[in-house]
Symmetry: C2
Subunit: 399 residues, 2 copies
Amino acid sequence: MSDNFVTDTRWLLPDGVDEVLPPQAGALEALRRQVLGLYDSWGYDLVMPPTIEYLDALLTGVARDLDVQTFKLTDQVSGRLMGVRADMTPQAARIDAHQLRRDCPVRLCYTGTVLQTRPEGPATSRNPLQVGAELYGHTGIESDIEIIALMIETLRRADVSEPHLDLGHVGIFRGLAEQAQLDAATESRLWEALQRKAASEVDELLAEVDVAEPARHMLSSLALLSGGTEVLAEAASRLADADEPVRRALAELNAIADALRAWLPDVAIHFDLAELRGYQYHTGVVFAAFVPGYGEEIARGGRYDDIGRVFGRGRPATGFSCDLKTLFNRSEREITSPAAIAAPWQHDADLSRYVGELRQTGERVIWLLPGHEHELAAMGCDRRLVCRTDGWTIEAIEG
Amino acid sequence: MSDNFVTDTRWLLPDGVDEVLPPQAGALEALRRQVLGLYDSWGYDLVMPPTIEYLDALLTGVARDLDVQTFKLTDQVSGRLMGVRADMTPQAARIDAHQLRRDCPVRLCYTGTVLQTRPEGPATSRNPLQVGAELYGHTGIESDIEIIALMIETLRRADVSEPHLDLGHVGIFRGLAEQAQLDAATESRLWEALQRKAASEVDELLAEVDVAEPARHMLSSLALLSGGTEVLAEAASRLADADEPVRRALAELNAIADALRAWLPDVAIHFDLAELRGYQYHTGVVFAAFVPGYGEEIARGGRYDDIGRVFGRGRPATGFSCDLKTLFNRSEREITSPAAIAAPWQHDADLSRYVGELRQTGERVIWLLPGHEHELAAMGCDRRLVCRTDGWTIEAIEG
């Protein structure tokens, strides 16, 4: 073995792949428990879908983006192609539609590592710890409100400061694209330009494919419909000539905004009618949470009514998810290592019983292995067990 | 879309890949918390290594078995080969040697999904939820005792009935193979025959390569050295002519057995000097826990002092791991769905506050979405919130 192993870069992790060490890992685990406890208290049942599935089960009905983001593997048992999940939402939808098959509303939550072939943004991880909640079987805006409220509550539990909410509705762009009779390729190019808020590019594209008025004017105005509550009134006037699906989407967005002002009076809402994240699998309202000082969204979700159909059963669906590690990194918590009690290495029935009791009450007790009796501080011990005339007692360790 | 989606087998999971649904998933999560809480109380710090790493970081220093069991992926960012972890133990060793670099004993624990290209046995999963604990930086038998005691305590916390312990020591076979001057290929063939307890095959092989006495006789007797405490005395006599490393390994095994009888008086111990699980990365004592009615080991571990060297720093190491799902399946717990309180869907400040308080105290409260007011039982509600003259109260739901 060569001498340069210590600095050998083989041990560095791949770009965008991270791991969590002590004491952060313990604090992240505590956050995980809090968040899953929150979901449980709202009636969301935990599911644990597998990390790998057959590729067609993972990808049918979802966006092409997700296909590109998914690592592929060959199953040596069946010879079929498998994928490592890049998103757990379609897995939850499969479980609702195919495994549970209930008729009533079903609330599911999950957490687990997802892997992505490339980082989504410069600061994003390729191995996020996804956590999310999904509500199946209800069509009205009430389930969207519940999901958005739960997303905001998730951020609050994580001690993430003042989230604000971004609201959009994919039905608006999709309805206008239909009204303008755009072909799929043009719709996709237009969607991309809108994401970049490239207004002049949008106009050039609309001119190029010769879209008729009033659709042309309305599609062009989408990039401008971004801001506070005033955007909804402006949209009503600018999109007055839209077909019924667009007007229905706008009405839905208005109703959701009204309800959110009552349910979440402290949360600032920003509207963006050109923002269409996850557009290929969402079908209604889409939303994201942002926090000051972090350029990318910290949580996101939306309605995706159609996805269940390919799993055997069409069900209305709405949900959100986020990366628990991103939340953790934005959280304003203090992280400390747990303090421990040192116990001398000896087999003594009284000592063993006492150590067991202390551990049961939540204390951390470390056996002092022979030869390491003087490394108490390094191991985080601030107290030790000592045998006095009246039995074993805990004594502070003098610095 | 065709009509036969409902029965389409595309949605079946790959062989040996399983998922956990409600209410089992909630109960498994509770077990996960208990076990990680146990490790924390013993001073084991949680680490969260990534699901994927560069292949050479995952596999250097470990057994060829693990290579075969590891799914390979190409990193689109670097073009290098990555692997999906099939075992978290080498990751913990990398973290101790390369990331933490402490001099004192380091106790680490972890849990997460590992993936294996093929199931290890007919009843084993290809996506186990591995949980384990590792102790670095201590050479004596005391750290082995601590790890074995923690493994047994893990099974007890999981309500797994009467585990018994299998003990072996790879130093015995390895020392005899050296004494007999076996080449690597013969050693490997002999090892394989010993695993299968194929005594006649062992003898044929020893004759074929013309191993001299006394090594030949001693190697041949290994397959017989399996049973209760009497095995240790028998080994002392049968292996009396062994070189010093073998006698040292036997003495170590004796000392560990003595200590275990004091520390774990209730646990039956079985000795097997030919059992060499994980032989390619273990260096000392090896152990496994078995329970009645389950043919395969339910937890296993051992000493693996050399693995850290390839990560930059040689450290003594001992540890164990198991599949939390196997433990869960063998556990004698009753699993029940949580009972919930239904809350009517309305925005009322008093109601919202009350719902929030109930959830904080651990109650599960479900908003009744419009149109689903009559599906209380299906959603697991046994009580409901009702507004009476003196405010919101909880009332039982009559069957």
